[in-house]
């Protein structure tokens, strides 16, 4: 059983899509396990100005993806790094226990995207 908030985000996911000139891309999950998430970020002056995602997965995977885009947008890189799996689940009014492990990938994807952004930045300088 999903919370109303999860169902709402699943039904109307925010920020679906890709950013062709993204500053960072995070790809997590594995299709074998049934959940894959690709997260794109745009960063300006250390602030995440745009986030988009593409997700293959269950209702929880899509809802957490949608939620993380809302949580991350407008945050500084440091603030965004601190967003945890628990934060995403809490913002959605909780997730069924079995989904906490396998489908709650969104904060991992965000961290991967930030890592990618920082690596690209370091390479440039």
């Amino acid at each position: 059983m999903y919370s109303e908030k999860v169902m709402e985000h699943f039904a109307n996911p925010r920020n679906v899509g890709e950013i062709p000139d993204a500053d960072g891309v995070g790809k997590v999950g594995n299709p074998q396990c049934g959940d894959v998430m690709w997260l794109y970020i745009k960063v300006k002056d250390n602030i995440i100005t745009d986030v988009k995602f593409k997700t293959f997965g269950c209702g929880a995977a899509i809802a957490t993806s949608s939620m993380i885009t809302e949580l991350a947008k407008g945050k500084t890189i440091e603030e965004a790094k601190r967003i945890s799996r628990g934060d995403v689940a809490d913002s959605l009014g909780g997730l069924p226990p079995v989904k906490m492990h396998c489908s709650n990938l969104a904060s991992d994807a965000l961290r991967e995207a930030i890592k990618d952004y920082e690596a690209k930045k370091a390479a440039k300088t």
Binding site: V16, G34, W38, C58
Partner: protein
């Protein structure tokens, strides 16, 4: 019918079915005025006993056996447990070899797994891509110490009908008891346990418009079987516990209706099933039919779709008022997708994108048309969210860093 009208359509009849009004009507008196214990000698007991025995006759007629060969249980799972454990533990022998398949229901698989712990040897035969067990494999698996062959009549997920008649013949020739889980077959396949050489057959009331919590096991006369529930000795000692009289009356009525209406209802469901099986691959790109083309239950249509995951599909269809199911891991709370789909050789990725549509006698063509109307849109909505497509196919490891 157009999208947006909130009508509920039920296409999940392999999960459970609606109790038919005639069944409800038959049961009600046994919840209100006729509440006696069938073991009691007085009038209260006698009227309950008469109803139980009448019901037994109807179930026996459905299977073409003697009423004394019917044991009422709490459902399909208990019937499977009784059949397998009851034969395995006969006279406390606690050893022997059992032949089954990789795509049995968990009630059979897990019971066999449990018996392994006590020293039983289990052979789980593979199935073909279409979900069929090879009769030759069954024959070759037989050993001197084989005590039971358990192969389901029809599969609950993909609807494949196993060569149970041929297996029955082989088993009878070798004098090995043959158990078949026929839970999904009732009301869809004409049954004859005598002609088909079946020794033990499980069925469940709620799968054919009876109530939940009632099932039966056909136990061929002379079968060597122990009870697994000890107590007051009801059901000829094979299933102690005061009889679930309303449930028994319900399954009896449901059996009567299943037999009476088998021909017309199967014919109707088959037409609708074939319409779906023909249409879906035509109207949804990169969609496929799972299971056998002809050897399948008249009510089962099973598909898979590239690039999307089944739970999302079920939820999206639910928004449209359609109830169906999937073999995706995410829908079951398990970490693995359906063992049936994997046994057929589907990859994990393919199994995740599956959709099971199981018809019932009450479904209409209008309902099927509505599903066909909304399905392409629902699939493309999920594909728009998915990172995978024709240009970026899914493959293991494709996802990214492997963080789980």
């Amino acid at each position: 019918m157009t999208a947006g009208i909130k009508k509920r359509i039920y296409f999940d009849h392999s999960a459970t079915t609606r109790v038919l009004p005639e069944v409800e009507e038959a049961m009600l008196p046994f919840l209100t005025e006729k509440w006696g214990n069938p073991s009691s000698l007085h009038a209260f007991g006698r009227e309950a006993k008469v109803a139980v025995e009448n019901s037994r006759k109807h179930v026996a007629k459905l299977l073409n056996c003697d009423p004394t060969e019917i044991v009422f249980t709490s459902g399909g799972t208990e019937s499977d447990n009784l059949a397998i454990k009851g034969v395995a533990m006969y006279k406390g022998k606690m050893k022997g070899h059992i032949i089954t398949t990789k795509m049995e229901h968990h009630a059979v698989l897990e019971t066999c797994e449990w018996l392994k712990r006590f020293g039983f040897d289990i052979t789980s035969l593979p199935v073909s891509q279409e979900g069929l067990v090879d009769v030759g494999d069954v024959e070759r698996a037989i050993r001197n110490d084989t005590i039971l062959i358990s192969v389901m009549m029809a599969n609950n997920e993909i609807g494949t009908i196993q060569p149970y008649k041929e297996i029955g013949t082989i088993a009878r020739d070798r004098n090995i008891p043959f158990h078949t889980d026929a839970v999904q077959a009732i009301g869809k396949i004409p049954l004859d346990v005598k002609a088909d050489n079946i020794d033990l057959l499980s069925l469940s009331g709620h799968k054919f418009h009876g109530p939940k919590g009632i099932g039966a096991l056909y136990v061929r006369k002379g079968s060597k079987i122990e009870p697994v529930i000890q107590g007051g000795g009801q059901e000829r000692g094979l299933r102690s516990s005061t009889e679930n009289v309303p449930g028994i009356v319900g399954i009896g009525k449901a059996a009567e209706l299943a037999k009476r209406d088998l021909e017309p209802t199967s014919q109707r469901m088959k037409v609708l099933r074939d319409k779906m099986i023909k249409s879906v691959p035509e109207i949804v790109p990169r969609s496929y039919v799972n299971g056998h083309k002809t050897r399948r239950l008249v009510n089962n249509a099973h598909f898979r779709f590239d690039f999307i995951e089944g739970e999302g599909l079920i939820l999206q269809l639910d928004f449209k008022g359609i109830a169906a199911s999937t073999g995706s891991a995410c829908s079951t709370g398990a970490l693995e997708p359906s063992h049936v789909l994997l046994a057929m050789g589907l990859t994990h990725e393919q199994a995740h994108g599956s959709l099971r549509v199981t018809l019932g006698r009450e479904n209409t063509e209008e309902e099927v048309d509505y599903l066909l109307e909304v399905l392409p849109g629902v699939v493309s909505k999920l594909r728009e969210i998915s990172p995978f497509n024709e240009k970026r196919p899914m493959s293991p490891g494709e996802g990214g860093s492997g963080v789980q």
